[in-house]
């Protein structure tokens, strides 16, 4: 007798193989796995959102109404606003949804603005004000690089018009400083994008490795059968196109 756990593990291995088969070519089994994933994920999110609502509001209100009405009545405000969002589907009452959206945006902006100036601006600027002289040469070099690249990046984005140099005239010191910072900014960003790309590869390869270790390796036979089926689906797809 095959248990649900074993069947689930086989299905996991097969789905993983079919999703990765898209790397070679689009095929029917990939589409099956894709649609199943999207459907399951959407259904799961809805179920969990409803469960959260049940745990926080419905269940306490039904189990102990007295306590709920004295301590947690304010939960009904977001519930009411959430229900108002569904007014979008009515031509007559669609405007009611605007109240929910307005409150949502206002609360979000208010909460963020309360601390954004300190957390995202002041603390970030102060973190780049660093000593450029000292006894530790490595630290000093690091500080110089950080300060120059920060200034270079700001120069590149803030001063978007290049200073003009008259034909035959020697460039002014301002022009030289600006040009140097401009190029430091460009190269700094290139290094940043390179690091980002390298990290992206590391993450994607990490996903592949862990998926192999968690789902495919324990169910090698199921994965092999799924791979053979995916290969057949790819070949059939090619033949049908011809």
């Amino acid at each position: 007798m095959i248990s649900w756990d074993v069947l689930g593990a086989w299905l996991c291995a097969a789905m993983v193989v079919w999703i990765y088969s898209f790397a070679y070519r689009d095929n029917a089994l990939y589409k099956l796995a894709e649609h199943m994933f999207v459907g399951t994920a959407a259904g799961y999110s809805i179920a969990l959102a409803l469960d959260s609502l049940n745990r926080v509001v419905v269940s306490p209100a039904v189990r102990s109404p007295g306590t709920f009405w004295t301590t947690s009545w304010h939960y009904l405000v977001p519930v009411a606003l959430g229900i108002l969002l569904f007014a979008k589907y009515s031509r007559k009452y669609y405007w009611l949804a605007r109240y929910a959206v307005a409150v949502n945006i206002a609360v979000g902006s208010g909460l963020a603005l309360r601390t954004v100036p300190i957390a995202n601006i002041v603390r970030q600027i102060t973190a780049t004000i660093l000593p450029l002289w000292g006894s530790d040469p490595v630290k000093v070099l690091n500080n110089w690089i950080l300060v120059l690249i920060t200034l270079g990046g700001l120069t590149y984005f803030l001063f978007t018009i290049f200073p003009r140099v008259a034909e035959g005239a020697r460039p002014s010191p301002t022009y030289r400083v600006y040009r140097s910072l401009y190029y430091i900014g460009i190269y700094g960003m290139m290094v940043g994008f390179g690091a980002l790309f390298a990290n992206t590869i590391m993450t994607r390869v990490g996903f592949l490795i862990s998926i192999y270790l968690i789902y495919i390796q324990p169910e090698a036979w199921a994965a092999t059968v799924a791979a053979i089926l995916a290969a057949i689906a790819i070949i059939l797809g090619i033949l049908r196109k011809r």
Binding site: Y44, S45, A119, A127, M202, Y212, L213
Partner: protein, 286 residues
């Protein structure tokens, strides 16, 4: 002409995505089946995190851990979460877990099954609690910082928070000695910096995917977080430090070989590009 045609055919072969994907698959699978045992050197960044916990957390301290990742990111984040949990329990800490992402609930249940040995002997409600999914994004983050029991009344399993011994001791951000954010998203780190660290000064520790590390590095640089564990590499290092080897360390050989392959492709691609460019320049000057 023959040199150019040879370059073209080499470019055609190496340019086929099927070849790259097949080689990448082999470079992942073969080292797992036949481990190479490439040594893993522990980086300063990981040692700093380990030393912070060793130095600053005393037995009985309280830690909040945000579990915010989907199943796809398990490989990079789950080993970090397990290793950190083991270290925190070894230090005698008690942990409150929560998820601002719906998928955190699945991630936590998988974490529990994978870390059964770490949670063994730990009593639910006294040593650790899982609050479950808390809807509301940044607003919920701010609300939790002010009062957990004012935000939700029951945990993930329907237990009243007032009935759980650990939750009798903690309610707001300042009740915690450390907040760990294990996330595959970028925004959540900013939420905690803005709503927990900036107003209340709670120390934050990040565990993130490699791909988002550059985006949140400025928070660590500005001392808004005490440290950061980045992806599988940091997980492997932390597993070595806490003495519980798992998925992180098992992935390192495959990470090394697959990266060698990608570097080889980048070098070959650049060599072909420059050879072609030099050849066309020479041809043009004639």
């Amino acid at each position: 002409m023959s040199e150019m045609s040879a370059l073209s055919s080499l470019e055609k072969i190496l340019g086929s995505k099927e070849l790259l994907y097949t080689l990448l698959l082999l470079s992942v699978i073969l080292p797992i089946l036949h481990p190479l045992g490439i040594p893993v050197e522990i980086s300063r960044r990981t040692i700093d995190v380990y030393e912070y916990i060793e130095t600053n957390l005393r037995p009985g301290c309280r830690v909040y851990i945000e579990v915010y990742y989907e199943v796809a990111a398990r490989g990079e984040l789950e080993p970090n979460l397990i290793a950190l949990t083991k270290h925190l329990f070894d230090r005698g800490c008690r942990i409150v877990y929560g998820s601002l992402s719906a998928f955190g609930v699945i991630a936590f249940s998988l974490f529990k099954s994978m870390a059964a040995d770490v949670l063994e002997g730990k009593e639910y409600g006294r040593d650790y609690v899982y609050l479950g999914y808390i809807a509301g994004g940044e607003a919920a983050t701010a609300s939790l910082a002010r009062s957990i029991k004012g935000t939700i009344s029951v945990d993930n399993y329907g237990n009243r928070l007032e009935d759980l011994p650990l939750m009798k001791e903690v309610d707001k951000a300042t009740d915690f000695d450390l907040v760990v954010i294990v996330s595959s998203g970028t925004d959540i780190f900013a939420y905690y910096v803005r709503q927990w660290h900036t107003p209340y000064g709670v120390p934050l520790l990040f565990a993130c995917l490699s791909v988002i590390a550059p985006s949140i590095e400025p928070f660590v640089g500005a001392k808004q977080a005490v440290g950061m564990l980045v992806g599988q590499r940091s997980a492997a290092e932390y597993e070595v430090l806490v003495g519980r080897l798992g998925l992180g360390i098992a992935s390192m050989d495959a990470q090394s070989t697959s990266h060698m392959l990608i570097v080889a492709f980048i070098v070959i691609g650049n060599a072909i590009y420059w050879r072609r460019r030099i050849s066309s320049k020479r041809g043009g000057s004639r």
